[in-house]
Amino acid sequence: MKKFLLALTALSVALMCGCSHIEEYEEDIETTEDEVEIQTVNVSNKDYYSRFKGQDISINVYNWGEYIPDGSEEGILNVNEEFTKLTGIKVNYSTYATNEELYAKLKGGASTYDIIIPSDYMISRMIKENMLEPIDMSEIPNFSNIMEKFRDPEYDPGSKYSVPYTWGTVGIIYDKTVVDEEDIGWDILWDEDYAGSILMFDNPRDAFAIAENLLGYSLNTEDSEELRKAAEKLKEQKKVIQAYVMDEIFDKMGAGEAIIAPYYAGDAVMLMDEFEDLDFVIPESGTNLFIDAVCIPKGCRNKEAAEMYINFLCEPDVAYAVADYIGYSTPNQATFEMLDDEVKEDGISYPDDDFIEEKTTVFCNLSDEANLEMQTLWTEMKSSEEQTPNRVIVPAFMAICVIASLVILIRRYIKKKKDIF
């Protein structure tokens, strides 16, 4: 048997060597940086942070995937570790992929979290459903670092429940070596020339927004007819879509598996840093502007420690590390001033104010009926058959069942006869 194993190993190795030869055109993925700057955190008020030292407290943080510097690359700050070092509070960190997942987990899971980072519309939904704990802003001195325009937002009047973490827009990431077009708009996501190479959001709100934008509806429409038409549009798109994904996009776009994908600007920055062939565009027809903010959910076990964590995230050094690593735009004035001009002016992370004013919409929370309708339409769209529905399947299955039961009956009959003799 050993021979088989050996042969197998040899075969697979041979296969792989062969492949590595023909794929030489692919560039090395790791970009080597000449100088690695080590990030550090300096806080002004050490006393504030040392209150809980030695008390063996822990907090549960529930955040988006790829949404915090985790020290995975050299010189990158590990925010949670730094926080523990500074305060002695242990951080249990876990991640989700969409706002809706977060909502489901909180609503039905009975897990307790101390920190969550939902987006604007989800925050107002959670406020409405009494799922959030009001934050004591006097415990968060660094709230003063937050830009004036991000205080008192529409989704959380008076900033009672949330402290902005990052913001950004949605646009299209594409491989510029393949897509050679000008004026890229949302309709490219329906373009049959790129069929099989397009990725799409795997959450209803972002996906519907794109369809609504294309159809000229408001991104916050609650009109049942408009929602249905948008769903129709998304169904139409299904045949050109390779996969519905969220953070898998990093892998698929990076490896050249897909060519076009709508995603958040911050992640686009991160991807473009790593892969030169990728480019990003915010369609002229307009887009969604989102704000992700830190909240404390009801049932939090240690509110003061949670508030300390929020304050830590608002430290200019920390917020800088966040903005630098995840690529999203910062609402933190002190951090914004620390950024390179290059970043401020690239038009991706910080589009100019006129564009924001005229072309972007912030999601609002929809009515319960509209939310339910969107969910249902979304599931229906995703479950619909992408190819022409195969009419053979149902009758074939029925036929098999009928034949099976007939066989059973006949066998039983024969058996009975045998038993008699």
């Binding site: 490896a255 598996e257 969910q375 599931t379 479950s383 149902v394």
Partner: protein
């Protein structure tokens, strides 16, 4: 005294097996406010295409598993006894790897730039679209659940009385005839338990369809997961779908049980 000793387990069974199932049924028949309704069950019919797709794909995967496993189990059963356990171990080894990792491995193999397409590229073929298709989902099912088919078949075939086969040959059966008339009928219990052990996990998986199906080939499992922890939170609908799934499995198993003449099921 002897009866009392099983009391803790009976209590456990009642609380953690029976009551949860009753709760699923309760959720399936109520609204979020707790009022009785049939709407959830009615809403399930809306997703009948997902049910049909799941049954269909799981059935294909089961049949492929059976076709691959039967000859393999026959070969394994006939190998020299001193090697048998080693060979069986080698066949079973991949099953002990975490199934998420195994499925992930196929993701990297099947991609447009994956190794298989690179291999075809050597001959100037492709690239073929393999990932994110129903074929990929079936492949994932076959790969993950193949051992569940091999093991019961092997168990039955290894215990098969050699003298019966010899008798059949003495009575003038050729090899094919012996196989069809003697070996297959005698291995029926193994076939049936293999089918159940492949079909049930295959019809209810949500990982395989998510990782290899690209999110557009939803299966029943995905639908249930979406209602509880996914993008469309609605536990009542989720419970209704779970209930229907249980009924379907129960029906299919009753049909299968009819073929199984001996009541001795070959588990594991």
């Amino acid at each position: 005294m002897k009866k009392l000793i099983s009391a803790p387990y009976l209590l456990w069974m009642a609380v953690f097996i029976i009551i949860p199932l009753i709760m699923v049924a309760y959720f399936a028949f109520t609204t979020t406010d707790g009022a009785f309704t049939l709407d959830n069950l009615a809403a399930v019919s809306q997703y009948s295409n997902i049910f049909i797709r799941s049954i269909w794909l799981a059935a294909i995967a089961t049949v492929i598993c059976l076709i691959i496993s039967y000859p393999l189990a026959l070969i394994l059963a006939r190998i020299d006894k001193s090697y048998q356990s080693t060979v069986l171990m080698i066949v079973m080894l991949p099953m002990w790897m975490n199934f998420l990792l195994r499925t992930y491995a196929w993701m990297t193999l099947l991609g447009n730039n994956g190794l298989i397409n690179a291999f075809f590229g050597l001959f100037g073929l492709g690239p073929f679209k393999m990932l994110n298709t129903q074929g990929a989902v079936v492949l994932g099912m076959v790969y993950n659940y193949l051992p569940f088919m091999i093991l019961p078949l092997y168990n039955v075939l290894a215990k098969l009385d050699k003298s019966v086969i010899e008798a059949a040959q003495d009575l003038g059966c050729n090899n094919t005839k012996t196989l069809i008339k003697v070996i297959v009928p005698l291995s029926m219990p193994g076939i049936m338990s293999g089918i159940t052990m492949v079909f049930v996990p295959a019809i209810s998986t949500f990982i395989i369809s998510r990782m290899l199906g690209g999110g557009s080939n939803l299966l029943i499992g995905d639908l249930i997961e979406m209602q509880f922890l996914g993008n469309s939170y609605n536990p009542n609908l989720g419970a209704a779908i779970s209930l229907v799934l249980m009924v379907i499995i129960l029906l299919i198993m009753t049909i299968l049980n009819q073929f199984d003449e001996d009541d001795d099921r070959v588990l594991m």
